[in-house]
C-alpha cells in the first residue's frame, strides 16, 4: 500500500511535466499540421538557458525560469518565420524532415556550445524531502508540479478566454474560414509555434534542475511528448493534459510492478492500443468520421 501510494505520487509528479511537454506539441500539430521533431530541443534550450542565467548572469532561480521561456519562445518564433513559413504548401513529410534537420542541428550546436559533460543546476530549495505519512517528496518537485499545473491552466485559459485563443481555435477548426473571418493565419502560426516552443522551454527550465543537463536530454523529452500527444489525440489540448498524467502513472506502475526494463514500453503499448481501439485518442468524444 505504502509502495503503491509512493508510485502514484511519483507518477503524478512526473506526469504533470509530461503534460506540459505534450500540450506544446499537440498545439503545434493541431494548428499547423507540423510534426515537430525539434520539440525536445526547445526543452534542452530552456534547461541550458536557466543554467546560463544562473551561472553567467547570476540572477535568481525564479527570474531565470521566465527568462528561459522567453528565449525558447523567441527562438521558436524565429524558426517558424525562417523555416516553416516558406514551406507552408509543402507536404507534411517534407516539413517533418526539416524539423528532423533542425533537431540534429540544434542538438549538435548545443553539444558544441556546452560540451558533452552533464551539468547540474542548483536551486534555492532544500534537498531534504517533505514527508507526508508514508510517502516522501522533495520540495523542488512540489514546486515543479505546482508551476507545471499553473502553466497548463494558464495555457488553457489563454485558449479558452482570450481573443487570441479564439483566433487560434478558429484556425484549428477551419483554416480557410478563419482566414475569411479576418484572422491572420501567418501571425497565428508564428504565435502558436512560439507558444509551443515556450512551453517546451518551460518544461526544460523546470526539469533541468530536477535532473541533469546534457545536450541529448531533449530526445527523451520528445519521446514522452509524442506519447502524450498520441494518447490524448492529435491536436487535443485537454487530452494531452490528461494523457501526460496517465502516461506518468502507467510508466511508474509498469516499472514498479512489471519490469523496469520495459518501463518505456508501457508508453508504446498504450499508444498502440489507443491507436487500434480509439484512434482519435483516449479522451476524444465520439465523433462522426466524415
Amino acid at each position: 500500500m505504502e509502495q503503491l501510494l509512493q508510485h502514484l505520487l511519483n507518477g503524478l509528479l512526473l506526469g504533470a511535466t509530461y503534460s506540459l511537454l505534450g500540450i506544446g506539441l499537440t498545439l503545434v500539430f493541431g494548428l499547423m499540421n507540423v510534426v515537430n521533431f525539434a520539440h525536445g530541443e526547445f526543452y534542452t534550450l530552456g534547461a541550458y538557458a536557466v543554467f546560463a542565467a544562473l551561472v553567467g548572469a547570476s540572477v535568481s532561480f525564479f527570474v531565470a525560469i521566465p527568462l528561459a521561456i522567453a528565449v525558447g519562445a523567441a527562438l521558436g518564433a524565429l524558426c517558424e518565420r525562417v523555416l516553416l513559413r516558406p514551406l507552408r504548401d509543402e507536404s507534411i513529410d517534407t516539413v517533418m524532415l526539416v524539423m528532423i534537420g533542425l533537431w540534429i542541428a540544434m542538438q549538435n550546436a548545443e553539444l558544441l556550445g556546452w560540451g558533452g559533460v552533464a551539468k547540474s543546476v542548483g536551486t534555492p530549495f532544500s534537498t531534504q524531502p517533505v514527508v507526508l505519512g508514508h510517502v516522501s517528496v522533495s520540495p523542488l518537485r512540489i514546486f515543479v508540479f505546482v508551476v507545471s499545473a499553473a502553466f497548463i491552466v494558464g495555457a488553457h485559459l489563454l485558449l479558452a478566454r482570450t481573443k487570441l485563443g479564439r483566433a487560434m481555435r478558429a484556425t484549428f477548426q477551419d483554416r480557410e474560414t478563419a482566414a475569411l473571418m479576418g484572422v491572420s493565419i501567418e501571425r497565428i502560426h508564428t504565435i502558436t509555434f512560439a507558444f509551443g516552443a515556450g512551453l517546451a522551454a518551460a518544461a526544460g527550465a523546470l526539469l533541468g534542475p530536477v535532473f541533469l543537463l546534457y545536450p541529448s536530454m531533449g530526445d527523451l523529452a520528445s519521446l514522452k511528448a509524442f506519447s502524450v500527444v498520441i494518447l490524448g489525440g492529435l491536436g487535443n489540448f485537454a487530452g494531452a493534459a490528461l494523457g501526460g498524467i496517465v502516461l506518468g502513472v502507467a510508466e511508474e506502475l509498469g516499472a514498479g510492478y512489471v519490469s523496469s526494463g520495459y518501463r518505456d514500453a508501457v508508453g508504446f503499448v498504450i499508444i498502440v492500443a489507443v491507436l487500434l481501439l480509439r484512434p482519435s485518442g483516449l479522451f476524444a468524444r465520439a465523433e462522426r468520421v466524415g
Binding site: Q6, L14, L111, G116, T127, R141, L253, G254, S260
Partner: protein, 390 residues
C-alpha cells in the same frame, strides 16, 4: 542559393588546406584511438581522449618511440557500435595504424573486433568490461580494464567488512550493467549473502523513482549501482528524496566521486565506490610517483578533476601500445601483437601484464588491474575505515 554554395565551397577549401598542418615532420608512428566523442557517453570518451594526449606528449617529450614521434589518430564512434566498426576499418585501412586503442563501451568494442581479426591489427581495450570480449577467441584483443567478474573478485576481500546480508542491484540496461549485476550477484551468493531485487534502467532514463520505490519496498541492506556518473547522480538524489536507507556501492570505476559530490551533494554522502584509480591520494597507487605526476599534469592542462578516473585509462592504454611498438622494434601490426604479450610496464593503475584468456590457441590478452574502494565522507573522498587499516 549561390551564396550558400560559395560559402560551402570556401568552408570546404579552408578545411582541406588545414589538413596538412596536422601532419608532422618525419615519419610519425601512428596509434589509432576510437572513443565515444559524441552521443550519450561522450563525456567519458573525451576524458579518455585527454588521457591519451597526455601519454602522447610525454612519450614524444622523451624522444618518441624508436626515435620517431607518436601521432594519435582519434576517431569518434558516436557511442554507436556500427560507427565503432567503421572507425576501426578506417584507421586500419586508410591510416594503416599498427595498433588501436578503444573503444570504451563493450558493444562498441565487440563490434570493432571482427575488423581486427579481418585485417590482423591488435587493439588495446581500455574500458570495456563484458566478459565475452576476451572469451571469444580473438587473438588481437588485449584488455587492461577488468571484466565485471574480476572487479567482483576484487571486492571479495572486503565483503566481511561491508557486512552485506542482502543486496539489490540497479544497473543500466546494457551489456555492462547486466554483466555487473550477474557478476556481483554470483559473488554475493557464493559468499552466503542473498540477492534481492535486480532492476534496470534505460541508458537515457532520468527518472528512476519507480525502481527506487520498488527497491525500498524490499528488505535489503545494500544497493549495488552500475551506470554512468550522470545516472548515479540522479539515482542518489532520487533515493534521498524517497529516504532509501541503503549502503550504496557503485561499480565499474567510472562513477567519478568528485563529480558526485559536486552534483549530488549530500545525497552522495556515505556511498562507496569501486575505482581503478584514486586521484585524491595518488600516493596510495602502486606507482605513487607516476600517479602524482599524472594528476599534476591533468590539472595543469585545466582538465576537469572528475575526469581523472576515466582519463588515466587513456594514458595506460597508449603507454601499453607504445611499449609494444618499442618491443616489436617496428610499427608492424603482427610484430606489435606478438610484442604485446611481452609488455610489462607500470601504468597509473598499476602493473600491466597480459595473461592468456579465452579458447586455447586463439587467446586474448587480459591484464589484471588493481582495484580500490573509496567512500564519500563529510563531503570528501576518503578511504573506507576498514580499507585504511589493511
Amino acid at each position: 542559393m549561390n551564396r550558400v554554395i560559395t560559402s560551402m565551397a570556401l568552408l570546404v577549401l579552408g578545411l582541406v588546406t588545414a589538413l596538412p598542418a596536422l601532419a608532422q615532420t618525419g615519419e610519425p608512428i601512428k596509434i589509432g584511438v576510437i572513443q565515444p566523442l559524441s552521443g550519450p557517453v561522450a563525456a567519458s570518451g573525451n576524458y579518455v581522449r585527454m588521457g591519451t594526449e597526455i601519454a602522447r606528449d610525454w612519450i614524444n617529450a622523451r624522444g618518441g618511440v624508436l626515435g620517431r614521434q607518436v601521432q594519435l589518430l582519434i576517431e569518434d564512434n558516436k557511442s554507436d557500435p556500427k560507427e565503432a566498426a567503421t572507425a576501426a576499418e578506417k584507421l586500419i585501412v586508410r591510416d594503416k595504424v599498427p595498433v588501436i586503442m578503444g573503444a570504451w563501451g563493450s558493444s562498441m568494442t565487440l563490434a570493432a573486433m571482427p575488423k581486427l581479426e579481418e585485417y590482423g591489427v591488435p587493439m588495446v581495450v581500455e574500458t570495456s568490461s563484458a566478459a565475452s570480449i576476451t572469451k571469444r577467441g580473438n587473438p588481437w584483443v588485449f584488455r587492461i580494464s577488468p571484466p565485471s567478474e574480476m572487479e567482483a573478485l576484487g571486492l571479495e576481500k572486503y565483503l566481511k567488512d561491508f557486512g552485506i546480508k542482502q543486496a539489490d542491484f540497479l544497473a543500466v540496461n546494457t551489456d555492462w550493467g547486466r554483466g555487473a549485476a550477474t557478476a556481483f550477484g554470483d559473488l554475493l551468493k557464493r559468499s552466503g549473502a542473498a540477492v534481492g531485487a535486480t532492476e534496470f534502467m534505460d541508458q537515457a532514463a532520468t527518472d528512476m523513482n519507480a525502481q527506487i520505490t520498488k527497491i525500498k519496498a524490499g528488505t535489503s541492506d545494500t544497493l549495488f549501482l552500475t551506470t554512468g556518473v550522470e545516472q548515479i547522480t540522479l539515482v542518489l538524489k532520487q533515493a534521498q528524496e524517497q529516504r532509501l536507507a541503503r549502503k550504496v556501492i557503485t561499480t565499474g570505476g567510472s562513477s567519478s566521486p568528485s563529480q558526485l559530490i559536486k552534483q549530488a551533494g549530500p545525497a552522495a554522502e556515505g556511498t562507496y565506490h569501486i575505482l581503478f584509480f584514486t586521484p585524491w591520494f595518488p600516493e596510495a597507487m602502486p606507482d605513487g610517483k607516476l600517479a602524482k605526476t599524472f594528476v599534476d599534469e591533468w590539472n595543469k592542462r585545466g582538465h576537469p578533476f572528475e575526469g581523472l578516473t576515466e582519463g588515466f585509462r587513456g594514458h595506460d592504454g597508449i603507454m601499453t601500445a607504445a611499449d609494444a611498438i618499442k618491443l616489436a622494434g617496428k610499427p608492424d601490426p603482427k610484430a606489435v601483437r606478438d610484442a604485446l604479450w611481452k609488455v610489462n610496464i607500470m601504468g597509473v593503475n598499476g602493473p600491466i601484464r597480459f595473461e592468456k584468456d579465452g579458447p586455447a590457441g586463439k587467446e586474448s590478452g587480459q591484464s589484471k588491474p588493481s582495484i580500490f574502494i573509496v567512500q564519500i565522507r563529510d563531503g570528501k573522498i576518503a578511504l573506507p575505515t576498514f580499507a585504511a587499516k589493511k
